[in-house]
């Protein structure tokens, strides 16, 4: 069972029995141990550190959430589910959850659509392809904190560029900070700004893997560019789309940086218009309440919610990928009739084509005669 079995002599080759059993030297014993232990040794850094800094904290969150645990005072007495009752009883948690989902939907849906469109543009046979690809990736290297500061200014309620811009079209200035749903749109725009180009490149890679003869076949069948995009490209990259959506669910429900920096106070706005759940967690644990126990309850609740959403997502994904391209069931009679029609149409088309060829050749002959 040692690693690299091929380097060991095959079982049968040690057959000649008369030879005296060889004594294993120290270096050989060492080497055997090396082969046995090394594989585990090499993966151990990941597992040890992940257990310590990933798994343990997550599990221990459940423990902390059962105690009265103050940021400054430390661990207090066991209170059971009191922290959960407090969190769920106050409106703040539910409010933040609605905000989180609202921002998530506003960011993920347009982002995926836009990314697919940009990828389709990049997939064309363009000059300086690397330049354009790098160009769409620029926002990715801007820290979310910086993005939030810049867009916080672009979306300023007064003298903001976006309000000026929509003013040109005669739209009244929008309270991007004061109005709840508008602020969600502004924050979602920041997320879209940073991630659309990144996802476009993922989609581009998927598009380039689409067999080109599919497009040729579609062209022969008379499909235009739009039809090809929707009937060939999109179905072919479906699994990649699902993958991008899945990753954006896990990330999107934990959004923090952008709402935190959207105004000076970082508390989700005066009426908590854009208070997201992780921001609420931060505010509970380190901000106003300084209550680690209650903060842990928020974290654990959000963890369960992400888990549920993830499972739902997984189930939907399974269904989509197992059903394959939609092929509606048709009765045999209909199929037979359609086939007969197709055959008739084919014959008619062939006759037409033959006629066309004949007339064309007649034309060329007349042309030649004219010249």
């Amino acid at each position: 069972m040692a690693a690299l079995t091929t380097t060991e002599p095959p079982a049968g080759s040690t057959a000649p029995p008369p030879r005296a059993p060889r004594k294993l030297g120290f270096s050989q014993t060492l080497s055997r141990w090396d082969v046995k232990v090394s594989p585990y040794l090499y993966i151990s850094p990941f597992f040890v550190l992940f257990a310590l800094t990933g798994l343990f904290p997550l599990v221990y969150t459940a423990v902390v959430s059962m105690y009265e645990w103050n940021l400054l005072g430390g661990q207090g007495e066991f209170v059971g589910l009191q922290n959960y009752a407090d969190v769920l009883g106050r409106g703040g948690f539910w409010h933040s959850l609605v905000n989180t989902f609202s921002i998530f939907l506003l960011s993920s849906v347009p982002q995926v659509i836009l990314a697919v469109v940009i990828a389709a543009l990049l997939d064309r046979n363009i000059r300086a392809a690397t330049f354009w690809r790098m160009g769409v990736l620029v926002p990715y290297v801007v820290a979310p904190v910086a993005v939030s500061m810049i867009f916080g200014r672009l979306f300023a309620d007064q003298y903001g560029l976006i309000n000026d811009l929509i003013g040109v079209f005669g739209i009244d200035p929008i309270g991007w900070h004061s109005d709840r749903w508008s602020s969600h749109l502004a924050i979602a725009t920041m997320v879209n700004y940073r991630w659309t180009g990144y996802n476009a490149l993922i989609f581009l890679a998927a598009m380039q893997a689409v067999p080109r003869d599919l497009y040729e076949a579609a062209t022969i069948d008379g499909a235009g560019p739009w039809r090809q995009f929707f009937s060939v490209t999109v179905p072919q990259i479906r699994s990649t789309i699902i993958f991008v959506v899945l990753t954006s669910v896990i990330g999107g429900l934990q959004i923090f940086d952008e709402p935190r920096m959207f105004d000076v106070h970082g508390r989700g706005g005066g009426d908590q218009q854009w208070m997201t759940t992780v921001l609420y967690l931060y505010d509970t644990a380190w901000g106003t309440q300084r209550d680690l126990g209650r903060g842990a309850a928020v974290a654990w609740l959000l963890f369960v919610i992400i888990l549920i959403v993830g499972v739902i997502n997984f189930l939907i994904t399974q269904r989509i990928s197992s059903s394959g391209p939609r092929a509606p069931k048709v009765s045999r009679a209909v199929t037979r009739r359609l086939r007969a029609e197709a055959r008739a149409a084919g014959a008619a088309a062939a006759a037409r084509r033959a006629a066309a060829v004949r007339s064309a050749s007649e034309n060329t002959t007349t042309d030649r005669r004219d010249s």
């Binding site: 090396d34 993966i43 990941f46 992940f50 904290p57 046979n125 290297v141 810049i150 003298y159």
Partner: protein
């Protein structure tokens, strides 16, 4: 190919290269295929995308070149940045509350350390998962992949308690140590090494008497170089832009660059000229790095990288 060679002789190397590229492009898509060359609409739309991508950064320069008074009365104070932004840069850099230089050094230390450590630990684990055989391997690999979907960020509170128990609050190792390994990195290197490292090479090294670690160091690590470089880049960007955990555990007195942005905002409230100059300054290092290695970053994402 003859025509390409001829182009090289007639019009010089550059022309030959361009011709070769053009030919490769035509072949890649197949002549007469459905994928047409970009018309002006394609370029126009892509140009628009680039404009949207670049404008926010340009906007920081515009505001940085202006002054507080003007900004509070108009959205676009001017259309071209000017040299007055340099004095704003000087203000940001010399401000004690912002701690710019300390933040820059901290960000470099954290990002470089984490990038190197993740590359090393992931390549080591990837080598083991991809090329060695031992009981429990497949199960462990599935476990690693499953952990990629776990929102570990939600464990911040016990992590914070842990860090304060061992007196690491406000120190860089509190940010570095939890980031030293990455499930994504392990998965990424495993996938790469599976295809890029032939068994024959490992066997040859073993026959020559190399120890397991020597085999890893002299055979696997060099073979993994392209994927390792991409992984390192991703980790670098991820750490450089990270905010949540550092802001919890480091605080404003020992900042990274994103925390310096927060300091700026706390220190200057409404002076958007200064704030935006600072935002640009904070973004600049990564932009410079991007100009040099952006090509690899693009290749990495297209090779199947996922969000970190």
């Amino acid at each position: 190919m003859s025509s390409v060679a001829a182009a090289g002789q007639i019009a010089g190397k550059g022309a030959a290269k361009a011709a070769a590229r053009k030919r490769a492009r035509a072949q890649q898509h197949g002549t007469g295929s459905a994928v047409r060359g970009g018309g002006w609409i394609t370029y126009g739309l892509l140009g628009l995308v680039l404009l949207v991508a670049a404008f926010p950064l340009y906007y920081t320069l515009l505001l940085g070149s202006s002054d507080q008074q003007t900004i509070s009365q108009t959205a676009v104070p001017q259309w071209l940045p000017d040299l007055s932004i340099l004095s704003q840069f000087a203000n940001v850099v010399s401000n004690n509350q912002v701690n710019f230089w300390l933040a820059l050094v901290n960000s470099i230390v954290i990002s470089v350390t984490v990038a190197l450590a993740v590359v090393l630990s992931s390549t080591l684990a990837g080598f083991s998962f991809a090329k060695l055989q031992y009981p429990g391997r497949n199960g462990l690999l599935v476990f690693v992949i499953a952990t990629m979907a776990v929102p570990t960020q939600l464990g911040v509170i016990p992590m914070y308690i842990l860090m304060s128990e061992i007196d690491w609050i406000g120190t860089l190792q509190a940010v570095i140590v939890p980031a030293l390994v990455s499930a994504f990195g392990v998965f990424w290197m495993t996938q790469y090494l599976e295809s890029a490292l032939p068994y024959e090479l490992i066997e040859a090294a073993r026959v020559d008497g190399a120890s397991m670690f020597r085999t890893f160091w002299s055979i696997a690590l060099p073979a993994a170089r392209p994927a390792a470089a991409m992984l390192g880049l991703f980790m670098f960007v991820q750490q450089w832009t990270m905010f949540f955990w550092p802001s919890v555990v480091l605080g404003s007195s020992n900042p990274t660059l994103p925390i310096a942005v927060q300091n700026l905002r706390a220190g200057y409230h409404d002076d958007y000229s200064l704030i935006m100059a600072g935002v640009f300054l904070v973004t600049l290092p990564l932009l410079i790095i991007f100009a040099v290695v952006g090509r690899q970053l693009v290749a990495g994402i297209m090779a199947g990288a996922v969000k970190g």
